[in-house]
Amino acid sequence: MAMTSAVPRGSTPRETNSELQGFREVQRLAYDCAEAVAAQLGPGVTEREAARMQREWLRGRGVRDWFHLPFAWFGDRTAFAGFRVPLQFFPTDRPLEPGMPFILDMAPVHRGFTADIGYSGCLGPNPLHDRLLADLGEHRELVLREVRERRSLREIYEDVDRLMVRQGYANRHRAYPFGVIAHKVGRVRERRWSPHVFGFGTRALRGLASDALHGHREGWSPLWSPYRFSDHPPRPGLWAVEPHLGFRGTGAKFEELLVVTDSRDPEESAFWLDDDLPHVRRRQEERAA
């Protein structure tokens, strides 16, 4: 029960507008947090400090539970250079230096709604990083287009891979657990006590586990991976999509929620929860310029 699809079967998105609004608000809150913390980052701030800043900012605004605790990666850790074990994802004492790229990644749960976002930035000008961010925009369009075509998730994953290769980048979301490019999120029941293990909220994990169990019986998976268990059409619900590009020690990603419904109308069948996000605005400005 902990995690249900945001959009129940057979309904149109309009019926759940209030629910989507809830998700949209927490996603905005998370992006506000990312922008506020990014503005405070300066030379010498460590990953641990950046992670703590995100946690405190969100706790101060009523967040009590997490899908996962905030992460922060600086420098070549944005491209997961030399990552072998999952513990390396956790923030370290690496200090930020001028010109270094950074990624803030957080997944707060607020009033029962989950967000999972990734914010890429850079301390000072870095033309290479700008190029990565611009190229990420193509992936955002590709994912939405192919989900609307109801292509198998595994195929979409491979198409994203191919686009990355064409652009000259390495796929770094392969480093995430199960190599996922996305995973399902949903509502979490609010409790007074919300423990977490290894940085992941137990209530949200329970939701993911029960989805995985249902999916296993019905032939789908809440994890969008390159493996056979993802060889099925997009499943209605909310997907946190996180393509992650790496290029020789510089990494960049975005992460935001994609709404998938079972509507026949392509426009309604899949859409990004919110188009007013920093990386989307940035792309629009670039196109206008």
Binding site: R131, E158, R162, R166, G168, A170, P226, R248
Partner: protein, 594 residues
Amino acid sequence: MSEHTGNGSGPEGARERRIRTGGIELCVAELGDASLPTVVLVHGYPDSKEVWSEVAERLSDRFHVVLYDVRGCGRSTAPKPLRGGFTLEKLTDDFLAVADAVSPDAPVHLVGHDWGSVQAWEFATVARTEGRIASFTSISGPSLDHLALWFRKRAARPTPRRMAQLLGQGARSWYVYLLHTPGLPEAAWRGPLGRQWPKMLARAEKLPVSGYPTASLPADAAHGAWLYRDNILARLRRPRTDAYAHVPVQLITPTGDAYLSERLYDDLEQWAPGLVRRNLAAKHWVPRTRPDQVAAWIAEFATAQQEGARPRESAPAKPYARWFAGRLVLVTGAASGIGRATAFAFAEAGARVVAVDRDPEGAARTADMARLIGAPEAWGECTDVSDEQAMEKLAAKVAAEHGVVDVLVNNAGIGVAGSFMDTTAEDWRKTLDVNLWGVIHGCRLFGKQMAERGQGGHIVNTASAAAFQPSRGLPAYSTSKAAVLMLSECLRAELAGQGIGVSAICPGIVNTPITGATHFAGASEEEQRRRRTKAGRAYGRRNYPPEKVAEAVLRAVVRNQAVVPVTPEAHGLRFMSRFAPWAQRALARIEPPL
């Protein structure tokens, strides 16, 4: 005394003048517009200013180039008496006199080779030259003070490694001991040694046969012995401990130098903050054997100081920057996979990159990204390597627009699978055209340019682990790659004498888009697609990144390796091919699981 103009080795069109200082007369030659920034080139032992003639000519379009014969050498007069006339203090007086005469208002860019560099270290570290030097490029000549402290540091705490370094340099310095014997060196130089020296240089140091050394050699060498006698012992006994460079320093190290160990410069950053290092695979006399690259590095460094900007990569120096900064690298098949990763790795080291591919968009994209990560210049070229005429056109264009290629990477290749009986004649032709003829064209055209220039270079050919592992599934591909491997070995033998290295890279299973374009002989369209996807996924699961192969390519160039297996399976197969070929034959019989 020699008449240096007219013997073919001196710089053409040099203006000469004589400068009196400290009781002697220095012969100074100038090239180029005197209003341009001044570069002063100081020669070594046993040389005269003509050692610089090739470099000076290449610099004279952008700089006011000044060369002078050090006291006692060439057409400068020798001090009387000789003993005590060659101290570093007096040599500093000479330099200041020249600098004041040729560039009274602006500081000069100083370049020294061998003893010229030893002197120049003194110029660059004493207080009285402050404001007269804009930059210093040191080639094959350490500061005697740094040298003394280097010896002391190693002798004070002699770990095995330090002892080896100490003894290594001690052995390389055999001629220094000889030069301290009285009378003997003079007699040898004025006698048989002076006559044999040009031939010895040509043989041992691979100096191109030209008018160098000049006729003044016996006198230069005999007088120059006093450089050693007046300074070495004095400085080794009482080195200055404040010999910090007050100007930006660039260090060019020939790695094949028979007289100076590379290790001498290990601690140099402590004396010259912001030191820029450049390495050349060459012997001691680089101003004669590698004038293009030496002139390019001098010009780049001087220009950067002139513009007041720090050199590009000075912040965190990339490990291969000292080898490849500013060098011209051409990579075929550079729109994807190993070729693209290799182009990026060279770009990151500061090389100028020509990315060649059939796919114009991919090549342009590679060039684009290469510029973003540190290539000073990068170009994308659309050429099919199997097309002889197109390759000839490319070679002519690259030579005309960018110069002679320093490193050539023949990487373009296609995958072809399927049993021998299924492989059609057309399949064979296509495979050999790209995988073998592409390499042949590249080596023939660009290798020829390299050999004709006579200043070294390197060719890397991408072979494959399939070159030494037979298989029933890849007969055409394996055959083409085995041919590339043997071609590389033969060419390596042929070009070794000209300072051009040839390496064959045998990557193994690497996650590249080659599987997506592989032709499966004898399979229907549908079956082709299925097998490509399957092979792609298998390679994806193996997930060996092409970046590691690129790293191996750069390492192979630096170390001049002949055959380089990259992935563990490639190493394993190479080992088996030597010690257990029967096992390889058994492996070859297994039907591929696609």
